[in-house]
């Protein structure tokens, strides 16, 4: 039984369908990507998952049963835009959020203080929220999301406003949640983060599910289609001695870091390229057959006419 099951969910606002017969399931110990362009219906799906909205049709089940008010306490939610009381002290806001999530007793503040210390924000606990930088506020929001140790964590754009150091901190935190067996739903537009963090994804476009599966499966499935659609072949990244651009079938060469990225003609596979380069007496110290990035699939699917992809 999946921990979270969205089964044929439909939701319309004022006659306009926001979520159109969407199904997916997520289990504990999994980081699940919820993707889609702006206005695709992600927020509505998230709100239905959290029982803020009820679907017009279909079911949303937690552990095989419809969610109740008591399930609110099992969910930790990080909204896309910062949702903090700006004129209140950090610790007071966290105390309120923790208690709303069912935490009781005098140790709520102690736990919040400990979590802030861990995030490097210990000395800001008694400061007003609006005295904090955007990145600090994001970290406070993350503390608020996880303070009550939820089973289900829904993160909407968790990396926005974070510097690379804090981005790494949050990535480690997500990895930690996964190790602890928590169910993590990650909604983001940053495809490199999705590739790095998510086990499986669902992509919603115009209310409909357009992609669903493991990241590897999806990339495998869409790579040939995408190459055909763009009229281009593989991309390889090489470093070594020789003029790789002169090899037959290489359409374009441009620097990629210390190496060179080469666009190949559709008929030239990475293996054939290697054979030709070595055959021409060139030496290769680094070679990478660059697979189709998820971002390209996202753009391809999101820009396709409705119903063109399944």
């Amino acid at each position: 039984m999946p921990q979270l099951l969205v089964d044929d969910a439909v939701k319309a606002y004022d006659g306009k369908v926001a979520v159109d017969h969407v199904s997916f399931e997520v289990n504990g110990g999994e980081v699940f990507g919820l993707l889609g362009p702006n206005g695709a219906g992600k927020s509505t799906l998230i709100r239905m998952t959290m029982d803020i909205l009820r679907p017009d049709a279909g079911r949303i089940l937690l552990d095989g049963r419809p969610s109740t008010n008591a399930d609110h306490d099992r969910v930790g939610y990080l909204p896309e835009e910062r949702g903090l009381y700006r004129k209140q002290k950090v610790l007071d806001v966290l105390d309120y959020f923790g208690r709303l999530k069912g935490m009781r007793g005098p140790d709520v503040r102690q736990k919040a203080q400990a979590a802030l210390d861990e995030m490097g924000l210990g000395e800001w606990a008694k400061k007003r929220v609006d005295a904090l930088s955007k990145g600090m506020q994001q970290k406070v929001q993350i503390v608020g999301t996880l303070l009550h140790d939820p089973d289900i964590v829904i993160l909407d754009e968790p990396f926005s406003g974070l510097d690379p150091l804090n981005t790494r901190l949050v990535k480690e935190m997500i990895a930690g949640l996964k190790r602890a067996g928590k169910l993590v739903v990650l909604s983001t537009h940053q495809m490199d983060q999705v590739e790095e963090l998510c086990d499986r994804i669902v992509m919603i476009d115009r209310g409909k599910r357009v992609l669903y599966g493991t990241v590897r499966e999806i990339k495998k499935r869409y790579a040939p289609e995408l190459r055909l659609a763009s009229g281009k072949g593989n991309v390889v990244v090489v470093d070594g001695e020789g003029d790789f651009a002169r090899i037959e079938g290489v359409l374009d060469a441009r620097p990629s870091g210390l190496a060179t990225a080469l666009s190949l003609a559709p008929e030239l596979t990475p293996e054939r390229f290697l054979e030709r380069a070595l055959g021409a007496g060139m030496t290769i110290s680094h070679f990478e057959a660059s697979p189709t990035p998820l971002e390209a699939i996202f753009v391809h699917v999101a820009t396709a006419p409705a119903g063109a992809v399944s």
Binding site: D14, N69, P79
Partner: protein, 437 residues
């Protein structure tokens, strides 16, 4: 879920009462009133040193008609039933400068002193032995003319305050030995009306204006406070909700607590803050003084019933105003939408005369059964002492049911509206939200 309602209520309460605006408003009001009274007293007592009323007026009579007798002539006929209120007012004003002088003067009347000529009278006026001089000319009987010399230009001068006593003095003088003194008294004060009205059991009982004022004091006070509290709290509420909506905290909150508990918790928290404010004002003796002065009767049952209607009305209007306000896309819109309901609350005030004249009439009854108008209407009817017990109970039951139903539907609108940004929903859409679970 009850626990979460309490948590929301506690936060709303603490974040309201620890705001500077609230603290200044609550403690500043009595201090302000105190300072204001102190200032009036100071000015009054300073002025009083220079303008102490003498309570005396000189009369120079060239007509030979005026009969100045020992004793004073009162300024006005004060009905017995109003005497208590006037006494209390004069007690309160005691020592407060010219005001006290005028009130004391009105109550004490004027002592007239005969002078043979204008010179000696005006000399006495200059010496401030008397406050005014009236000269009655030879042809007074034909013309009715009297000349007045006043020590002060103030509109509250003794010369003006003595005119009514002078009138009495002249009537008495003109009728002396021609009409019996008892008849003269009746000419001067022909009516002291006792108003009779039917009570709840249909019996005729004495019902004076002062009596009505005394018994309506508490209910009308509650009605006024109710309107003030509803609008103050609704303003605070809408401000808070619009802030939560604008900075998106509402998404976090709604992922933790259902909309009904949130709405109810907010109302309880703000209601408690309102009652605390009331309590502080009461304990700072602001209200008791007002009640005492007005000579208002304090019946415990009336207070309890008014309090019950107060709390229910607060919840009903708070719910309606907040849910309607939440539809707005910004704080200004929200205030405007929410305040629409204020009309309902104030409506019975338009019918105040109808309700008080016939507390068990059709209009009063209908207004008592409509939950929106019931609170203020019932407060007024309870004040008249003629509302049957069963109607009070029925109104309370209907109002409680209305609160429960409103809370249920309002929570749905509240929940959906709070999650919508930038778009104003249509009326059919709002009705659809209400139907949705």
């Amino acid at each position: 879920m009850k626990g979460k309602t309490f948590i929301v209520a506690r936060r709303e309460f603490t974040s309201t009462v620890f705001r500077w605006g609230w603290i200044i408003g609550t403690f500043g009001m009595p201090v302000f009133v105190g300072l204001y009274a102190g200032l009036i007293f100071l000015i009054g007592s300073t002025a009083a040193k220079y303008e102490k009323p003498t309570g005396k007026a000189g009369v120079v009579d060239h007509s030979g008609i005026v009969r100045v007798e020992a004793g004073r002539e009162p300024a006005a006929n004060i009905p017995d039933e109003a005497r208590g209120a006037v006494d209390a007012a004069s007690k309160m004003a005691g020592g407060a400068g010219p005001a006290a002088g005028i009130i004391a003067g009105m109550l004490a009347g004027t002592e007239f002193i005969r002078f043979e000529d204008e010179e000696s009278a005006l000399a006495a006026l200059t010496r401030k032995e008397i406050g005014a001089v009236f000269v009655v000319p030879k042809d007074y009987l034909e013309t009715g003319k009297v000349t007045s010399y006043d020590a002060s230009k103030s509109i509250f001068s003794e010369g003006k305050a003595s005119r009514q006593p002078l009138r009495r003095l002249l009537v008495k003088s003109l009728t002396h030995d021609r009409i019996e003194p008892e008849i003269v008294e009746r000419i001067l004060d022909p009516t002291d009306i006792d108003t009779m009205a039917r009570d709840r059991d249909g019996k005729w009982v004495k019902r004076g204006i002062a009596d009505v004022v005394r018994r309506l004091g508490v209910p009308l006070g509650f009605a006024m406070l109710l309107m003030i509290s509803i609008f103050t709290a609704a303003g605070t509420m809408i401000q808070g909700v619009s802030e939560e909506k604008e900075n998106r905290v509402i998404e976090v909150i709604l992922s933790s607590v259902d909309a009904r508990s949130l709405l109810f918790g907010k109302l309880l928290g703000l209601g408690a803050a309102g009652l605390l404010q009331l309590g502080i004002w009461l304990s700072m003796a602001l209200v008791p003084i007002v009640l005492l002065v007005a000579g208002v009767a304090l019946s415990p049952l009336t207070v309890i019933l008014c309090l019950a209607f107060f709390v229910l009305a607060f919840l009903l209007y708070g719910t309606l105003i907040t849910a309607t306000g939440s539809i707005g896309t910004n704080a200004k819109d929200m205030q405007q939408y929410g305040m629409f309901w204020g009309i309902g609350c104030a409506a019975p005030m338009i019918f105040i005369e109808v309700i008080l004249r016939d507390p068990n009439g059709t209009a009063a009854r209908i207004l008592s059964y409509i939950p929106l108008t019931a609170p203020v209407t019932m407060m007024m009817r309870i004040g008249t002492g003629e509302a049957p017990a069963w109607e009070i109970v029925l109104a309370l039951v209907l109002l409680t049911a209305a609160v429960a139903v409103t809370l249920r539907f309002a929570a749905r609108v509240f929940r959906t509206a709070l999650l919508m940004y930038g778009k104003r929903p249509s009326l059919p859409e709002i009705f659809r939200w209400m139907r949705q679970a």
